[in-house]
Symmetry: C2
Subunit: 269 residues, 2 copies
């Protein structure tokens, strides 16, 4: 499945998925990614399925509450997905362990704090604690962003060994979100070697113009779970000096989360 397809609005839905579930989830994804609710024909024209097949697939998804269809025949994502996701989010151990530390970090800095985990070459934000006077950012819980242009992502990548790092960041499309976005593996590798040296990462308007952050890595004992914490704010308020000053705090928060994980989830993980 081709991810990172925020550009590919008119992407056709013809992933050749294996298995019944794969096809249906891919269809679900397709409807979820669309700009708005789609009518049957809209989906059909972007799909390689015959009418009958598509109709039955959509019906099944609706039957399970994964999709909803209004009286105008427009399909959109169903609320069951939201319920399912929220329940699992609330019970997520890692998030729960990290939460108090995120709040503490938020209070100390006054800016927005993020918790994200690395999945492949993407960061998925697991939690977010906003400051009072927070500027609206294009970020939210559950949002997936490329690792190479986010503080949390680069921090998490930095703890990988060279072999796996190279594997993960090769074959990516280095989309220039801003003029500061890193544009190649070599630029990323060079940044990461700095991150390794100092123990924390910066994002200086690399993902979104006017937004900066400082982030520190978190990893489970077995090294199989990679994550990061960050403090983020608007560039006019969050100068590089302030980021620098916060860095030790962010690292302490990350380390505390790791300690708590060790204690609460058993050591050999």
């Amino acid at each position: 499945m081709g991810l990172g397809s925020e550009a590919g609005k008119n992407k056709r839905h013809r992933d050749r998925e294996t298995g019944t579930l794969g096809k249906l989830v891919s269809l679900l994804d397709f409807v979820a990614l669309a700009d708005g609710p789609m009518r049957f024909t809209d989906i059909l024209s972007l799909s390689d399925q015959p009418r009958g097949t598509l109709h039955r697939q959509l019906s099944h998804l609706v039957e399970e509450g994964l999709l909803e269809v209004d009286r105008d025949g427009r399909y959109r994502i169903g609320l069951r997905l939201l319920t399912l996701a929220s329940r699992s989010w609330a019970r997520n151990e890692f998030r729960a362990i990290a939460e108090p530390h995120l709040h503490r970090l938020q209070e100390v800095t006054g800016e927005t704090v993020h918790l994200g985990v690395l999945r492949g070459a993407e960061v998925i934000y697991l939690d977010k604690v906003e400051g009072q006077q927070s500027v609206r950012m294009y970020s939210q819980v559950g949002n997936a962003s490329p690792a190479y242009c986010t503080g949390v992502g680069k921090a998490a990548l930095s703890v990988l060994d060279d072999a796996e790092l190279t594997e993960r960041i090769s074959g990516l499309e280095y989309r220039p979100y801003t003029e500061h976005t890193l544009r190649s593996p070599s630029e990323l590798l060079s940044d990461i070697s700095q991150i390794r040296a100092r123990g924390y990462a910066f994002d200086l308007e690399e993902h979104e113009n006017g937004i900066c952050c400082v982030a520190a890595p978190i990893r489970s004992d077995d090294g199989h779970m990679l994550a990061g914490v960050s403090v983020t704010g608007p560039a006019y308020r969050v100068t590089q000096q302030r980021l620098q000053a916060w860095a030790p705090r962010v690292v302490v928060a990350a380390d505390s989360i790791m300690m708590d994980m060790r204690n609460r989830m058993g050591p050999k993980r």
Copy 2:
């Protein structure tokens, strides 16, 4: 599928769902509802599936990112669900239209504001705007609660005609969450007739001890989408007088949301 099964911890997973998708989603739901991550054998013992079948089903769910399995063989909900849900939440028209009104209401009252939609006899919370000094409540976006014991739920029910109302609230289990929870259809109907008369609903510690709210209904022009807005807070701070005083504001917010829907989504809906 029996919802509201917070009591049914040891519920077996043997819904006889129809179709491949139904079985898999039911399994997904089962794992999501569990108290914590489950190992293969745990699921097997609570399932009526043969080992081979269950193993393959779980593998398929993992393959699609709907479940994740750690090195100890423990299954939990995958992050893909969170990503999918968050994306659709962000793009939800209704939520987006309501958002500014929710914030305004929050600022006026200083307390937490909820937006919820009615699905059957349950309310699913679509959005929540917290006050600064907010007490942690058992409520969150995506959470599903029985309509009969929540302000939003009762408000939404109140705009139904008697026939559909009776149909929806019959056959429910009236679980007494607190000593103030309504315990029967007749109690609910009597409350609802009052709500109809005054145009807004109260929840006086009916769902959670120490939590009160006032709520007003929202419905689309065709009456097929029922929802509600509420202002919620701790009983020691939120007296019945204050609720009463806020009621007109809540009703105005609800009506404004309806107006905006009419304008933004076309009238005949």
